[in-house]
């Protein structure tokens, strides 16, 4: 193979002498474990601009203390990208992303227990003509499975350094770091004979890509091979469209091959696998019998037609039990902390009574606090998701649920995001990143907020209490209404998913091509790190966007000022929020709601459970702080101006229906905006959800009245 002239002449990196490594590998091969082991906590986690793919860059130190930059690229099976994740990996490796330093060298990590499929990506990467180090991970697991993987043979076949390694317990790291700091990494001597019918096309495309698309020669060759592997040249080209001349050449060859009946893509993939099969046969010997592994035995139970469901049910029950019980204590601490902080500002900070103080306590602290309360639940949820992912059970859950999800046109991968949304839509929407198909992902994002999140719980609880007055409410009634609300949200979500897949986001029938990785003990350190990263994203939102919105909402409730001596209730009534409530009344009166409920609906935008505290201000305002008149009684005592009671059981029920469907959460809107990179989808979501909420509430209320409730 020729010397890579493009390394010096290509898109040159910053004049820093720190070598830049890209860490590449299949999903489930231990890549993030190796990345964490190499870089420790010296990582920067962000996002690739324009796509919702996590960008991780870390610094490793060689045995001599020299810094080495490592970019952890998303897991990929092939450079012929099919998901946003894989597209990022491809683009960074091909030097297409201006926002990421082009890697000088590539660290390929492969799972030694599954060498053949892992080597496919390596084989494509060798085409790039850059120095590559191969990390043979999970050597211990391979040995236990009776596989003898000889690194020396692989090294000879591929002509690149091959380092055996056990990333989980740090074995092989020193050797790897020594290899990484070598100044003279060899280029692969592995020569690959492109199949005869295709070779001239590769040469012609390479020449054109070099001349017309100004690609460095070796990159051009790799791109030519990709263009011939994936039939969709637009997808391969991504953000750098092909020149007319190159497209013409490509289409010329495709037309010719179609006429001849040549399966060019298949030939390319097959010939790569032929080479890989030969290499693997050289390097791997299988010792004797291959009985069922531990993983096979677990799967015989975990995906069993009967036990499989029971285990899935048990795992989910455990998940929700921990979200709702375990989280209770830290949530209590946080609530107390917020309350005492607020008290401190009021009494001991030395700030006298005034607008600024109110803004700090009622706006900033109350608003941000109301969202941060959910942090423990979100942490637990992410911890569980990380655990399920790293043990391999997540893939089984998707496997079991796929058939059901396919009824509404989604696939099994949408199951966990939707399930997570019962706790909070935000982590649920963030978890949709594992869904490869963009339309399936959008549908999942669009319906996720219909799953009743835990912020709706306080609203449901208050309304149920008002719905069935009396101290001895039968538990069955409470539970029954609660289950009804959860069921409504769930069926709503599936119904709308079905509808969207048939109309708005019509796509090819979804496929479910997914690896079922062997079960593994969870890497607790990696799971914890992942959880903390996600929690940090959530906290950053709370500290920025939600803080800003809380301040604005405070202003809307505090201005314009009522005359001196007005009660808080009168103040709220004539504030912008109160006026908005009045303005809203004609729209919500058909649902049985008055302007005061309207204020609650508006304030719910900060977080749904704010409805409860707003109702406290609206209806309990005359009472002093230490007066403990239950809010429920205040609600029940409230009347319309004509003397009819406001909170009839029917109105309470209708209000709950409204909360099941309406999109009222600014944090969710913000996260959807970020994840879809456009305002279109969050706005559509607000419209369709709130529209549905209104229509259903209208039907329920009017029908209820007609029936005499």
């Amino acid at each position: 193979m020729a010397l890579p002239a493009h390394i010096s002449s290509g898109v040159s990196a910053a004049p820093s002498r720190t070598p830049v490594y890209a860490l590449v590998g299949n999903p489930n091969c231990g890549k993030s474990t190796l990345f964490n082991a190499l870089t420790g906590l010296k990582q920067k986690v962000g996002n690739y601009p324009g796509v919702t793919v996590e960008k991780k860059i870390g610094t490793a130190y060689s045995q001599h203390g020299q810094p080495i930059t490592v970019i952890d690229l998303p897991g990929a099976y092939s450079l012929a990208a099919r998901s946003p994740d894989e597209a990022v990996t491809r683009d960074v490796l091909l030097g297409r992303r201006a926002d990421t330093p082009q890697p000088d060298r590539i660290l390929c990590i492969v799972d030694a227990t599954n060498l053949e499929r892992n080597l496919y990506l390596v084989h494509q990467i060798l085409d790039l003509g850059r120095p590559v180090i191969l990390v043979l991970n999970m050597m211990d697991v391979a040995a236990a499975a009776g596989l003898d993987v000889r690194a020396g043979r692989l090294e000879r076949e591929l002509g690149i350094p091959v380092i055996p390694c056990e990333a989980v317990n740090g074995k092989g790291l020193i050797e790897l770091k020594l290899a990484m700091s070598r100044a003279d990494l060899p280029l692969s001597r592995h020569a690959w004979d492109i199949p005869a019918p295709i070779a001239p096309a590769v040469a012609e495309l390479q020449a054109s890509l070099t001349a017309n698309d100004r690609k460095p020669p070796l990159i051009a060759r790799a791109e030519a091979l990709l263009l011939l592997t994936d039939q969709d040249s637009v997808r391969v080209a991504g953000s750098t469209p092909l020149s007319a001349r190159t497209t013409e050449i490509l289409q010329g060859w495709q037309k010719r091959w179609e006429g001849e009946g040549t399966d060019w893509a298949g030939t390319l993939v097959n010939s790569r696998y032929d080479v890989i099969g030969r290499i693997a046969a050289e390097a791997v010997t299988r010792a004797g019998h291959t009985g069922p592994t531990a993983s096979d035995k677990i799967d015989a139970v975990a995906t069993h037609p009967i036990w499989g469901w029971m285990i899935l049910g048990a795992v989910m029950t455990l998940l929700f039990l921990s979200i709702f019980t375990l989280a209770e204590y830290p949530m209590g601490f946080i609530e107390d902390g917020i309350a005492s902080l607020s008290d401190w500002v009021k009494k001991d900070s030395g700030l006298p009574d005034g607008d600024l103080r109110d803004l700090i306590t009622d706006g900033a602290i109350a608003g941000v606090g109301g969202v941060i309360v959910f942090l423990p639940q979100i942490l637990i949820l992410f911890f569980f998701i990380g655990l399920l992912e790293s043990t391999g059970y997540m893939a089984r859950a998707a496997f079991i649920m796929d058939r059901l999800m396919s009824r509404v046109g989604l696939n099994g991968k949408s199951f966990i995001p939707l399930l997570s949304s019962y706790a909070c839509a935000i982590p649920g929407i963030m978890a949709t990143r594992t869904i490869e198909d963009q339309k399936d992902r959008l549908v999942t994002i669009l319906v996720a907020p219909l799953m009743s999140c835990s912020a709706r719980l306080p609203v449901y609880l208050l309304m149920i209490a008002a719905l069935v007055p009396g101290d001895r409410v039968p538990v069955a009634t409470k539970v029954g209404v609660m289950i009804l609300m959860y069921a409504l949200g769930t069926f709503g979500a599936f119904g709308f998913a079905w509808l969207f897949k048939r109309t708005l986001l019509k796509g090819a029938p979804p496929v479910m091509i997914m690896e079922l990785p062997p079960y593994r003990l969870p890497g607790l350190k990696d799971v914890a790190l992942h959880m903390l990263e996600r929690a940090w994203i959530f906290l950053r939102r709370a500290g920025t966007v939600i803080l800003g919105i809380s301040i604005v909402l405070w202003f809307l409730a505090a201005y314009p000022k009522a005359p001196e001596g007005a009660t808080p209730q009168q103040q709220l009534a004539q504030s912008f929020a109160g006026r908005a409530g009045h303005a809203l009344e004609p729209a919500i009166a058909p649902l049985g709601f008055d302007w005061q409920i309207g204020i609650g609906l508006i304030s719910s935008f900060a977080a749904r459970e704010v409805f409860v505290s707003t109702m406290g201000v609206v209806f309990n305002a005359e009472s002093k702080d230490d007066d403990t008149t239950p809010l429920r009684q205040a609600l029940l005592a409230t009347k319309w101006p004509d003397g009819r009671p406001l909170f009839t059981p029917l109105v309470c029920f209708t209000l709950m229906i409204f909360y099941v469907f309406a999109m009222q959460c600014v944090s969710t809107v913000a996260i959807v905006r970020r994840e879809t990179n456009s305002w279109r989808w969050p706005l559509f979501q607000i419209a369709y959800q709130t529209g549905t909420a209104w229509i259903l509430s209208f039907i329920v209320y009017q029908a209820g009245r007609a029936l005499g409730f």
């Binding site: 796509v51 991504g238 700030l351 005034g354 800003g548 405070w554």
Partner: protein, 47 residues
């Protein structure tokens, strides 16, 4: 701090917050480039 100064300060904070939110929502993204068709809403999806 007197109530008047507090009111002025509070209003300034509100104005800053509102301005920042509006700017944030409508400011063009720093790197509008996309990593390829599968990463960002395509023309078909946008419609």
């Amino acid at each position: 701090m007197s109530p008047e100064i507090q009111t002025v300060a509070a209003l300034v904070v509100v104005a800053l917050a509102a301005g920042w939110l509006v700017r944030r929502a409508f400011a063009p993204r720093k790197n509008p480039g996309c990593g390829g068709e599968c990463g960002c809403p395509t023309g078909k999806l946008k419609r």
